[in-house]
Symmetry: D2
Subunit: 367 residues, 4 copies
């Protein structure tokens, strides 16, 4: 498959930045899931431009359900959302039509689509396409909560400014606290430093990256597959489909490579009659399958490629070297907003694995 995420619960994306709309179709979703519009709005707001820290492009991002929803509940048929594109200023892009923006998909899209792709605003590669993805993810994330599975993400770091570490206990409360925040930090005192760093970068016409840390609690043990559909495989597959993601690690990830087995292993013990592990270096996954502990992973997001500084590049039509200075609206740091995409992808992938075990009707709301 090409443009499809999931085996049982599948998502297909479509649209372009400067086309009439962006959209996505969710297939395999159970009937009878009540759509909480406040919940949906909150997740969409997490993704949207948040004031001076983000792009100045403003979009209402109103989610239109054109299929699969009736009277506020999923029907069980393909669920398609559309989000109209507004406030499009193509002129911002005309000047750079054939100058490949460094580390953007301009040149690779030209090589793949042979010149037929829409280059305005990045066309199909625009971050705009994550809007319908977040909308679908929100519906599934909310449905998972009814099943006791909670997903949350915090900004573990921006540049070299780090948030606090995840606590070991009360994960559900921590997740709900994070989901209630626009600025997803465990330690709110870091907000000022991070904001300043982003604004400084913006003032320089530059950008910053960071790391998002995600935790999933309430996932029962035994979910996932060995080998090719390990939870790490399917989660990373989804996470790397988000623009700007260049690294994913589970549990202690790369840090595990410096530990000894005796340090890295998670001893098992009994707690309230339940098998748990004393530590969670593995991030809740052994052999590709959930062990009942919180799923923990970290996603590396590169600094935004669109910067205001003059850059060397190539005109891919004339094949001549050139200089490029981007006009228009750019996001100095997408890390804060990316938490919404990461949560959406996580919800979709986890729900897919749950449907594999429990079937198509698993996600429906209890009456």
């Amino acid at each position: 498959m090409k443009n499809i995420l999931g085996n049982y619960l599948t998502v297909t994306l479509f649209g372009e930045s400067h086309g009439p709309c962006v959209g996505a179709t969710l297939d395999g979703i159970a009937p009878g899931i009540r759509i909480d519009t406040e919940y949906l709005k909150r997740e969409m707001d997490h993704r949207r431009a948040s004031g001076e820290l983000a792009t100045s492009r403003k979009e209402a991002d109103e989610v239109q359900f054109v299929s699969g929803v009736k009277d506020g509940y999923t029907e069980g048929t393909p669920l398609t959302v559309l989000i109209m594109n507004q406030n499009v200023r193509s002129s911002d892009y005309d000047s750079v039509a054939h100058l490949a923006r460094p580390s953007h998909a301009d040149y690779t899209a030209e090589m793949k689509y042979l010149g037929y792709q829409d280059v305005r605003g990045g066309g199909h590669f625009s971050g705009r396409l994550t809007a319908p993805l977040v909308a679908l993810g929100a519906i599934v994330k909310q449905a998972l909560e009814e099943k006791g599975v909670y997903i949350g993400t915090h900004v573990a770091s921006v540049a070299d400014i780090t948030d606090d570490a995840l606590p070991k206990d009360n994960i559900k409360e921590v997740i709900e606290m994070l989901n209630g925040k626009d600025f997803a930090l465990l330690n709110d005192a870091k907000k000022e430093d991070i904001s300043k760093a982003i604004l400084d970068a913006k003032a320089e016409g530059d950008s910053l990256g960071g790391v998002l840390e995600t935790v999933v609690c309430g996932l029962p043990a035994g979910i996932g597959e060995p080998y090719f559909d390990s939870l790490e495989s399917t989660l990373s597959h989804g996470l790397f489909s988000i623009g700007g993601v260049k690294g994913v690690e589970f549990g202690d990830g790369f840090a595990l490579t410096k530990m000894k087995g005796s340090e890295a292993n998670d001893p098992l013990c009994m707690e309230d009659g339940k098998v748990v592990t004393e530590s969670n270096h593995a991030g809740g996954i052994n052999g590709g399958i959930s062990n009942g502990m919180p799923i923990v992973f970290r996603t590396a997001i590169k600094p935004t490629s669109s910067i205001g500084k003059v850059q060397k590049t190539v005109d891919y039509k004339t094949m001549e070297e050139a200089e490029l200075q981007l006009e228009g609206r750019h996001d100095p740091c997408i890390v804060l907003r990316a938490r919404a995409m990461v949560d959406a992808v996580t919800a979709l992938v986890i729900a897919d694995a749950l449907c594999a075990r429990y079937g198509y009707l698993y996600l429906r709301s209890e009456k």
Copy 2:
């Protein structure tokens, strides 16, 4: 899909550590690929136990082609390899039958398979399953070389001992040099330190992890997909299916999160009439699609979970806490051998993306 890697060129694994054999089926492989048995043997040797640094379990690992190969060439029909299991000492495992080995799949397999799984030697979760995977990957890796696409991996680090950095130039020669080595280092002087560290860990009944760095050269620009089948998505999907892998990063990966956009972006320029980038922080992938530069990624491999030290665990039948001391043959560090699995998965995923663009016959040998 569950046990399937790839969309066009697909792999299915089967078998268990202590069953009659392990095997795999490769479907969608072009007819007319000449199988170089020396090349295959070399890749299999890269995966095999290498003396004192690895497990003392010895296997001939002779690859039997039971389908899809005739007169030394692929037929184009499903290609199935079997590798018989030998030298099986189940008694090593009887004593620990229901004591979950910490950070192994014992407990998660019990939760998924409800007690019906074969626990001997890890059963289906055994590293033995990577033998047929490496065999299939070797056939594809060799076929890719005929198309000018070369794949190689070096041991970037074991514990805190690091190999040299990848050179910027002559990547093809570097890859061929690495593929010619049993101990995949750019700087052979590191071999002694790494060997000593592994043997020291072994002596302590402990284990080590490390990082593998892989480079692919010769891949044309325009290969891959936006979003859900980005090269990062499909490569990481395959890489995380290898036991012990807990992190994957492309290009500068997590280090990118500490750079500014102006540092992280790769300026484009012309070289010999070809578009290239001056740096390669992106690891040769923009927007999920190859840009013609070498594909570079790093794979984090945790220290082997099987250690000789006494560990706390749980008997998952009696649900009682217990102590466990593993007998038997364990690998103090799988990093050296894992390069073969990483190369195999990389070859399969890259070939799959090439077949998507160029079709089923692309990989066949030129006459």
Copy 3:
């Protein structure tokens, strides 16, 4: 997958009869296919209500391209079409909301979707969803013609009135002739009898079925797969997704069961230096793979389930028996229109098989 047709070139459908729109997404389509709006309109017209012989529901069925098309050419990115729903008279359906229309999907949808489905106009099961399918099929059918592959369908029979048999020669000309007709008959003299039979049925509040015969010429030998993706498997998979289709046979199909092998076999011979078969009882497919002869198959379409006569049924909410007399606009015979759906599905499935062999770029227009 659930709502997806194809492996390489994939289609996803969405929408409901009385929702805002119906639509479909085509993924894996090559860039650079020029969209011939006249060709598209013609195929859409073949599907649309044609006067007194069909439903009185009138729809403009204007195809809106909201993704994947720029300046009249495919971009190579996901291609999404929307067709707005107009002229909706839900009141026609209110009276029968919970009375299952016999041989419709009302009851089965209730069983699958547990009461959450949209029942108005059949909801997601409405024939309306074939409009975007025909639109996508038309784009692919036209692209196939540029590659020398032509697809056409005639009304082999309506009730017991039969059209002439397909000629053996000049298939391409025959196909172009059929594609130029609104009433797809080889023998136009049959039009009057068929029209009268349909109008008589309509007058009685009844409906008729029939058989469509499709021929594909220009498909090279060697396309398809053994076993699970045989051309018969993939074509029938697509054809049976069209509402009302209850039978599919290739070549002489069921008639072959009464022949002896010596009669049913197609002797091979040389013609103009090309291998051909003297007869084509196999319908151009041996072992699931095309043999270079025309692909021929027949599709059985049941009489429309919506009839004006009083019928016995059940109220699936009260579980009481009831009588039902349908109001509203019903099609006394969908056979004439179904040729457009059959052509669309055939184009999509054949193109998928060609892309498997020749790659993603195969369908693009030559400049």
Copy 4:
């Protein structure tokens, strides 16, 4: 996908007629299914050559489980069966190596595999590959019976000799009666005529075809999907993967095209508090989804292509016309044996649809 049947419960086939073995892998099968070896043997015997009516090639067809089975129960991991090839007389085929057997896959395989395919005994296209398919299907068919879903097939006709029609009632008993017979007839009195017709054809060096009628009872309403994974789509997909199948019809199939809607519709009524239909012209499927009535379909099987008579053909290496008279062991009529393949495919497809709704664990045995 190419060589894969199913979405959730998937089958992959491999092997060649004259290779070491044929085999298949079943993935997604629940753990804890007790394998009834008598049941398995019976299904394998249904497929095997039965005396003078079939090929004289004798195979033990012993099913070896090399993965996924422990202590007589499925483990839940990939289940692979191997069946060794014995009694191979390649010499029978040497003489015809490059003479395409009319209506066989010889020529199409040459076009697809470019001369690299194994032509001995049809290679990968051999009916031998249905042996592992039947073995896997038997395991699933037996598991379905524990869930109350029964599958049976009778020989509806051979040439122009017809069996009795399926009774309307006691379907389960009828199915069990058929499954207990080697010669699957409702009316045993037809056995003599059919046997004589087959032996007469054999004596003439000719062959016969026929129609199989399959019935599935106990399938709950609500199973299947609209459009692309309708039960008709997935069942026909699997059925047409069986060699020699050239037609599939559901319910009254092609006969429906001559009925009026008022005759073809199945009125709903209540029976013992359950919704049923008075007739079953639709074969238990409306809108692609089961309605709770028996699933009924008919499969057209052409006369065996291998006949002893002299036939015109082409040498696909020299491209010269030639005459061919086949030596060796040929089956004058595969219809009797094909019922085993049809049952196997039906079980796999129906189970796949049930797993979609009820999840991966659905098929496990109750303790």
